[in-house]
């Protein structure tokens, strides 16, 4: 009996030691050993991440994942997409289930400081807005006091609304739905006067309505929503790889490098283009990657403008304009640090 007890104690102790001893390899080593990047994206959000009719993941967030895979492996298809729920996305990243979270996630102070994660550069400057039926005759969000507003749960959305109406000095009724479908249906049926989400999301809600012209997006942007990819904290090298994969997309647009002309551009005399595409210096080695990492990114997914236009641009169903997501020298907010 006593021996059995001791054996059990020993087994429990061994389990504890085993559980704490994991996680010593860096993310890059893990990803390379696995031969694939695992990227967390959202559940079916057309334009950002949604499988097409052939089952291929399409969208802006998905292309960010592909550019990282291209940087690491030289092959944009070496990526597995994991659909993450809005409530468990950070846990999926913390636990190591995914290597990077690329999922319309707003970078905020409390998320960065208390969740054990780091955000990369902002890939999309968004802001929360409100969509209302035209028949309501509302011109400003400030008029919406006492109205019912539909939202999705567990995001910064409900807090922003609460803050907004506290500053305006009015009350409102918050109706929260777990699923985007119920949320939309309740809004179309008139249960709520308005629906609130990121403006990019509202564009797609309006696009799928029976008659999109019956709805109008109010002018106010009630919050800043810089959407950024996130990685686990304390892995500086991996964060650099994710950040510079994003910056490479922006820098390529700035320098006029496109998927089509990247081979010609590689012969360019411009020293910065030489460094970006691996013709000069050994920037790739500094990241622990192949020296052609920048070339591989642009060759496989194109530059920022191409990624945006393909997934969200005016020719797509979402029909979004670039807005603040334009290059700094054209009055926008995209500003990649120099590649040197």
């Amino acid at each position: 009996m006593k021996r059995k007890f001791l054996a059990l104690c020993a087994a429990t102790a061994a389990l504890m030691v085993g559980a704490t001893a994991a996680q010593s390899a860096t993310t890059l080593e893990t990803v390379k050993a696995r031969g694939k990047l695992i990227c967390g994206v959202s559940l079916s959000t057309p334009g950002f991440a949604a499988a097409d009719d052939k089952g291929r993941m399409q969208g802006f967030d998905a292309d960010i994942c592909r550019s990282i895979a291209a940087a690491v492996f030289g092959d944009p298809e070496k990526v597995d997409f994991v659909l993450t729920n809005i409530n468990t996305r950070f846990q999926a990243l913390q636990s190591g289930e995914i290597d990077v979270l690329s999922r319309q996630t707003t970078a905020t102070f409390s998320r960065e400081t208390s969740l054990g994660i780091d955000f990369g550069p902002t890939v999309f400057y968004d802001g929360q807005g409100l969509l209302v039926p035209k028949s309501l005759g509302v011109a400003s969000a400030k008029e919406l006091t006492d109205a019912a507003i539909c939202t999705l749960p567990g995001t910064t959305t409900s807090q922003n609304l609460t803050d907004f109406f506290r500053t305006v000095g009015g009350k409102f009724e918050l109706v929260v739905f777990e699923s985007p479908d119920e949320n939309r249906a309740a809004f179309y049926s008139g249960r709520c006067e308005a629906i609130s989400s990121d403006r990019s999301d509202l564009a797609s809600i309006r696009a799928v309505a029976n008659n999109p012209d019956d709805y109008v997006l109010l002018p106010e942007t009630i919050s800043k929503e810089p959407l950024a990819p996130a990685v686990r904290q304390n892995d500086s090298n991996w964060r650099d790889i994710v950040s510079w994969s994003v910056y490479m997309l922006m820098a390529a647009e700035e320098k006029g490098i496109t998927q089509a002309n990247v081979d010609e551009m590689a012969k360019s005399e411009d020293p910065e283009i030489q460094r970006m595409l691996g013709g000069a210096d050994e920037l790739g080695k500094m990241l622990g990657l192949d020296n052609k990492w920048g070339y591989n990114i642009v060759k496989s997914v194109g530059n920022y403008a191409e990624v945006f236009d393909r997934n969200l641009g005016e020719k797509t169903k979402l029909g979004m304009t670039r807005g603040p997501n334009t290059q700094w020298n054209a009055g926008g907010l995209l500003y990649a640090p120099p590649v040197r």
Binding site: M1, F5, L8, C9, T12, L15, M16, A19, T20, I86, N87, F90, Q91, Q94, S110, R111, T113, S114, L115, G116, L136, E143, L144, D146, A147, A148, C150, P153, G154, T155, T156, S158, Q159, L161, T162, D163, F165, R166, F172, E173, L174, V175, V176, F177, E178, S179, E182, A185, A186, S189, G190, R191, E193, R232, Q233, N234
Partner: protein
């Protein structure tokens, strides 16, 4: 070893070992989790409970605003959960008993109808019914700006039912205390008169005295002028009706869904309980000249209760736990509020621990109450 052969010692010793192992495992899990969280720089602890919640909750039985604490927001969610589960259990049981009895009716139309009711409700997942009821409400009724006026002051729309309400200005606690006093006094009088009736074999007017005692304290409080009420009627604002009592469609859909689902289970339990009472009991009552309805009420049901209570406990626990499906149709119950908080603070472990603890605690409380009631109605050794 000598003392190991002592059965009394051994019983205690084994229990001790079992409990220590469970505690050790729990401690190991806790230690590993907190070590890992610390290593990943994830905030831990329950400090966030006293922070400002910063979220609006559309339905609250207690005073609540976004500036209140996280702990209070969780309490609001908990009260919402209890409110909807309690009402669903109450109405579901009443409907279920009626359906269960109807199921055994000799009228084929009634019994088949009840059979259909039970089968239709029991064999489709509750979640689908919740969607059905909710979409029926929001799609069938007009938007609030074209609300149907049922009576003056009563408005029906897809934002729910708005009706005039009495608002307590003062004296609410006093009235409540008077009501409790009245109920207690009435119960005592009823017990005394019942004992007398059994002893003397004669009917007495005890129930009248009980009724008087029930309402007297409340009337006394009201007559004293300590209570003031004000009338609040819904008024049309720019977008919706404000003021009065608002019953929201999310609450109604959840209540109806849980209630009907529970009533189907209760109906089957009641039927099984009644059929478990032997045929001889029916025949004996008939031989004494009791009509069918009194046979059921006085002879069969009291015996059936003994069979009914244990499975009934189970269905009450189910309805309580199923109320967490509220999240699908936007009713702010405990889980929904906790989820929002979890996302804002990022402290998933702590929040899940809290709401699992609450569910566990309340489920155990329901079980204990039902066990107590079961012991009361159980067959006494005579």
């Amino acid at each position: 070893m000598l003392f190991l052969n002592d059965t009394r010692f051994r019983a205690v010793f084994y229990q001790f070992i079992a409990i220590s192992l469970v505690l050790l495992a729990a401690w190991a899990m806790y230690a590993t989790a907190s070590a890992n969280l610390a290593k990943q720089d994830i905030a831990t602890g329950f400090d966030f409970l006293s922070r400002q919640a910063g979220i609006a909750i559309s339905e609250s039985s207690i005073a609540y605003g976004p500036t209140d604490t996280v702990a209070r927001a969780i309490l609001v969610g908990l009260i919402n959960t209890i409110k909807v589960s309690f009402l669903a259990a109450l109405f579901g049981t009443i409907i279920g008993v009626l359906v269960g009895i109807g199921r055994m009716s000799t009228n084929p139309l009634l019994s088949r109808l009840m059979l259909a009711y039970v089968e239709v409700l029991r064999n489709v997942p509750l979640l689908l019914y919740l969607f059905l009821w909710y979409f029926l409400i929001i799609l069938v009724f007009p938007p609030v700006r074209q609300a149907i006026q049922l009576f003056p002051g009563f408005f029906l729309s897809n934002s729910g039912l708005a009706m005039p309400a009495l608002e307590w200005q003062s004296g609410f606690c006093l009235t409540l205390a008077a009501l409790v006093l009245g109920i207690a006094a009435a119960l005592v009088v009823r017990a005394v008169s019942q004992r007398r009736r059994i002893q003397s074999g004669k009917a007495n007017a005890g129930w009248i005295a009980a009724l008087v005692l029930l309402v007297l304290p409340v009337l006394a409080v009201w007559a004293s002028g300590a209570v003031s009420l004000s009338w609040s009627a819904p008024e049309a604002g720019r977008f919706r009706l404000t003021g009065g009592l608002q019953i929201r469609p999310e609450f109604v859909a959840l209540l109806v869904g849980l209630m009907l689902n529970l009533s189907a289970s209760v109906a089957e339990i009641v039927r099984a309980g009644i059929q478990a009472v032997s045929k001889g009991q029916w025949e004996a009552a008939q031989a004494l000249g009791l009509p069918r309805s009194r046979t059921l009420r006085l002879v069969v049901l009291p015996q059936a209760l003994r069979v009914i209570i244990p499975p009934l406990t189970n269905t009450y626990l189910t309805v309580f736990k199923n109320s967490s499906l509220a999240i699908a149709i936007g009713y702010p119950d405990l889980v929904m509020v906790s989820n929002t908080i979890m996302n804002q603070t990022g402290q998933a472990m702590e929040t899940i621990t809290i709401f699992m603890g609450i569910y566990l605690g309340l489920s155990v409380a329901i079980s204990l109450f039902m066990n107590w009631y079961n012991a009361r109605v159980a067959l006494k050794a005579r």
